[in-house]
Assembly symmetry: C2
Homo-oligomer: 296 residues x 2
């Protein structure tokens, strides 16, 4: 496929995920305001990079992407819950997310916490009830790995470490620990989950994981660069907020140029691992380049 | 077994759960403060009524209770996360729980939210990795039902409805909706999960569910009565806080005597359903009586 065809393919897959998400919420028998709060943040858009990585990895293994839609939605629900909780007054106290008022600004703090809790909980049902072409034992392994990626050993642990590191100048190793946990592991899970559904070998899964972790760090470095070089319109929040909040970022540790070099080297490592998996890599390569050059 | 033997049995089972809980946290590779916050509330004690219902139901079906320890711990983690989030300043703003400072008072609001998130997430790993005498398809069903009991369609939905009902005088039906969701469904899950692990028939599961929902309402009514008749020492929080917070309670809707009658009638219905399941009921009966007469 050429670049235009890949872009079209990704846009189609994104649409499928965005059509499925509100249907999952609609079928819940739950208080109206809770469903509204859950939908509000799910519908706030975003790049849907995790679902796209999952579906593109399935395609790279020549599997039917349909098989992975519910897991893709589960991951997007977990990502969304983490944004809702991160934005709370006691955490980052953000009022804007993707150019829209944050969940707690619209629904109040209690409902925002509960909407996050409900999204997190629901994600496990989406996996346990997923496509029966995936064997029950694989579903259970998908659940275990999701817990590791999203919970105390993954994303939640990373967020705690991030809070602990506030106001402290971190080493590059400490910063990488935070990002590998806070964003890397769930991003990596998106790719690994597709590998598991495709019966990838242990060796393939290890290479996919390396690919994914480098991609995750590249993603985070690009985020830090956009906080300096981006526009408020594109990134949906004020530029320079990391500097104002004295956040540890790659540019603050490595200079802006150093951060750009680091980004390039992670993309290089990501692709090197990707090429060694032995699958059709063109769409995943395209996503690598997108991560490295994205404007939002 | 006589009453003394049953009490001894329950105390032994409680000890097994309380020994297992910190071991599950210990093995996590996660920031120290997060593990401390998770442990703090798990160790704060309580009656462990949900784990005891699960293990006693397994025994009633003549199963090895050991098979259910991890699910019992998973339920206790979910119950504990719900208490941590409920106590937050934006929810009930409680500073004391079981006579100890609440999680956010000790660890700060952000860590309390994250400790709750981590406990909720982890609970699903405990089920997916549980005893392999339980078939994979049953484990998946246990996960689906836990989501329904704990998420938007269960406990979280009930908490949202409870918040919506604040300052409004509710009907008995509305109050029962809140309690069935906020506490009833997770309590019922404890019993149903054991039935599912024991290969109970569909009819048996329906009767167990009726038993459990009546028991859950009885449990809640007893809670409301203790807020009036209990002692701060026993209940671990100030007496009369429901009245001060203008909470909808059974005594406020039915008078104290009316609430006591309602409690007795739910215990009666619970036992009637229990007797019809066709299992060894003595310990579950004992737990019914405990719920009806407990002092804390």
């Amino acid at each position: 496929m050429n670049g235009k065809e890949i872009a079209h393919y990704l846009s189609e897959q994104k649409q499928k995920v965005e059509q499925a998400l509100p249907l999952y919420i609609e079928r819940l028998q739950a208080p109206k305001v809770l469903k509204e709060a859950m939908n509000y943040s799910l519908e706030a858009g975003g790049k849907r990079i995790r679902p796209l990585l999952l579906l593109s990895t399935l395609k790279a293994f020549k599997q039917d992407e349909e098989m992975g839609i519910s897991v893709a939605c589960a991951i997007e629900m977990i990502h969304t819950y983490s944004l809702i909780h991160d934005d709370l007054p006691s955490m980052d106290n953000d009022h804007l997310r993707r150019g829209k008022p944050t969940n707690h600004v619209v629904f109040g703090e209690a409902n925002a916490i509960l909407a996050g809790d409900a999204l997190l909980t629901y994600s496990f049902q989406l996996i346990s009830e997923m496509d029966n072409r995936v064997p029950a034992t694989t579903k259970l392994a998908l659940i275990t790995e999701l817990v590791k990626a999203a919970g105390a050993e993954g994303m939640v642990g990373g967020q705690v470490a991030d809070i602990e590191g506030e106001g402290v100048v971190l080493s590059l190793t400490e910063l990488e620990y935070i990002h590998n946990h806070k964003t890397g592991k769930l991003l990596a899970y998106s790719i690994l989950a597709a590998g598991m559904m495709s019966n990838a070998s242990k060796e393939q899964l290890q290479k996919l994981e390396q690919f994914a972790l480098h991609l995750g760090l590249a993603f985070q470095i690009r985020d830090d660069i956009l906080d300096i070089e981006g526009t408020e319109e594109a990134i949906g929040k004020p530029v320079g907020s990391d500097t104002i909040n004295e956040k540890n970022t790659y540019p603050s540790l490595l200079t802006l140029e150093g951060a750009k070099d680091k980004l390039a080297s992670h993309i290089h490592e990501a692709k090197k691992n990707l090429y060694s998996v032995g699958i059709d890599t063109e769409i995943l390569e395209y996503l690598c380049d997108l991560v490295a050059s994205r404007k939002n």
